[in-house]
Symmetry: C3
Subunit: 259 residues, 3 copies
């Protein structure tokens, strides 16, 4: 019998470098709820480690992350309290842990970088992407908005214009477009991304570690988006509306949604 | 006898889509005071309409908007209270109504997009522009600054560098330059802009409408620029200074101003 | 006997235009402590001059500014109070004076624009650069972080992505890359930079001067980055750590640092 596909976050350590791998290969590393919890735990452990000098995040098997694992959505998205808990605690808890990382984080972006993948990479410092990568967050097709904190994070990282296109028109964009937008530091041939990401990490390992931690504090403070409390009030009241149910159902039934 | 040219804002409705047209064809759709009032009224009505899903803004006859209607300026700009009322109530009232639109607004930008046109398009979500478009705000030639709220709006939309060039050097820029600056989403052959803008609107109509409204709230909140009160104090004290009168007079007399 | 190389800020006046020259030609105009004090004094005098309409900043002999003068660093960087005084008073005092300039400031950027040069040019309104220019702030090699206010200034001007690459990876970038990042207004053939910078200044001189001052107030207010006090607390506690001493020593001994 074939073993069940494993969805997990793996952490490997090579001296002062930690390699974090998003792994759900059956679904292009789409994030399950369990993976969000593991991502948070992984970074909380790394963040407490004074010997750490650099983290490299990548996806298993040539994709970074295709989004959330939509097959789980019917189980919790249509009840407001569960939905709020998912976004504010599970997702944001993990993203905040990545943002809180006190050392530089390199993102090795290959293949799909959608939704959750876009959010995770928005928390990184150095983003290298393969020329065939695709970026987007087409959740308007799924009948729901981006949570306010996540929208603030992504908008600050990719710029207002692309963020609006991704959310209002379900636009999907190339690595070159994300370079133009000031999100991707370098676009590389797809086969070179892993090697160049590791070279960037090794470059960081050679440079002054306390200086990097001090700079990281400055950037983290300057990056922190203020999300007014009024934006969060009622942010998940849409849990049970028809368009939300329709969008998720249509996706799972492989048909076009009717909004 | 030929009828007087009409300067107006027209609103047409096609189901959940509203088409708003800036129309002052004798002056490349330059905004008159009456048009600012109509633009505000048009959006205040649209903003209250729960059935609305998308707005498309365009200009009459192949131009978006060439600026303000300078022929009206001698009638009110040289008295501080009137000038402040114009910028803070008439102009900003209209721009705020566009910013407050709870559904995505697509800008179909053709030909001239100057001054008032740049400000109106800065309030939109999706901006498509023809490759021959020209963007700028050369009011330094007219002897006056951009009002603080308008400067904050435009700077956030086009970026600090271009905004300074437009205001300090009266620089005029191409659609490609505005794409590079992260303002224009897509540069298109001029003849394709209307069709592609409509296609973007139709795309939005097919996607989840409440999700779009929720995302719009997030973006509007994150976009809202804080303009410190001290910047507004005395902002219109220049009403009666010589350079202001000289700039407007020189334009109307078709000569170079002497500052 | 050959005279000692002079390190100084020179100010020349041509009517309403001031020409400010960074001059330390033996070190590609690297800023000495004395030059920071002179830069502040020069701008404080210019800023009080109601007849001034434009300032042009440039470097002596085909370079803008290669950074700080590292030969001075062993004399003051390893004691916290002296280090804090240097960054918060000497460096920031000068940068704030440039930021406070009430008229447009044109940067004529040729050759090296590193560290201090990047910071000074980040305070300017119009930035023209030669195609061979190099931009960076590779102080991670020197074992120290960018001071928080300076990091906030540079990050806002060059964008988050490039700022992180410069500080975390010691990345050095081209003028075209800085154009892509929205920092450089125009990239020019190296031989044309001086002429075009002067032409921009002359363009500004012809335009309305009070309007420019009003616009400058708006931009300065909108540009002012909020640096939270907690970021400044302890910002210079690294003065005496080993990596700081090692980085500076290695540079002066022309060897690779061992962090």
């Amino acid at each position: 019998m074939k073993p069940a596909a494993v969805a997990e976050i793996r952490v490997e350590r090579e001296g002062a470098l930690a390699l974090v791998t998003l792994s759900n290969p059956a679904r292009l590393n789409a994030m399950t709820r369990g993976m969000w919890l593991q991502l948070r735990a992984a970074f909380e452990a790394l963040n407490a480690d004074a010997q750490l000098r650099c983290v490299l995040i990548r996806g298993e098997g040539g994709a970074f992350c295709a989004g959330g694992d939509i097959s789980e959505y019917p189980g919790f998205r249509f009840e407001e309290a569960q939905l709020a808990h998912f976004h504010e605690n599970e997702v944001w808890g993990a993203l905040q842990a990545v943002l809180d990382c006190p050392v530089p984080v390199v993102a090795q972006i290959e293949g799909a970088c959608m939704g959750a993948g876009l959010e995770i990479s928005s928390c990184c410092d150095i983003r290298l992407a393969g020329s065939a990568c695709r970026f987007g967050a087409p959740i308007a097709k799924l009948g729901f908005p981006m949570a306010p904190r996540e929208a603030a994070l992504v908008r600050a990282a990719i710029g207002d214009v692309l963020a609006r296109d991704m959310l209002f028109c379900a636009g999907v964009h190339s690595a070159q477009r994300l370079y133009d937008a000031g999100f991707v530091l370098r676009v590389l041939p797809d086969g070179d991304v892993a090697g160049e990401a590791l070279a960037s990490a090794q470059r960081i390992l050679e440079l002054a570690p306390l200086a990097a931690r001090a700079n990281k504090r400055s950037f983290a403070t300057l990056q922190a988006a203020h999300v007014p409390p009024e934006l969060l009030a009622g942010a998940y009241a849409y849990a049970n509306v028809a368009e939300h149910r329709e969008g998720v159902a249509a996706f799972l039934e492989k048909r076009k949604p009717d909004f």
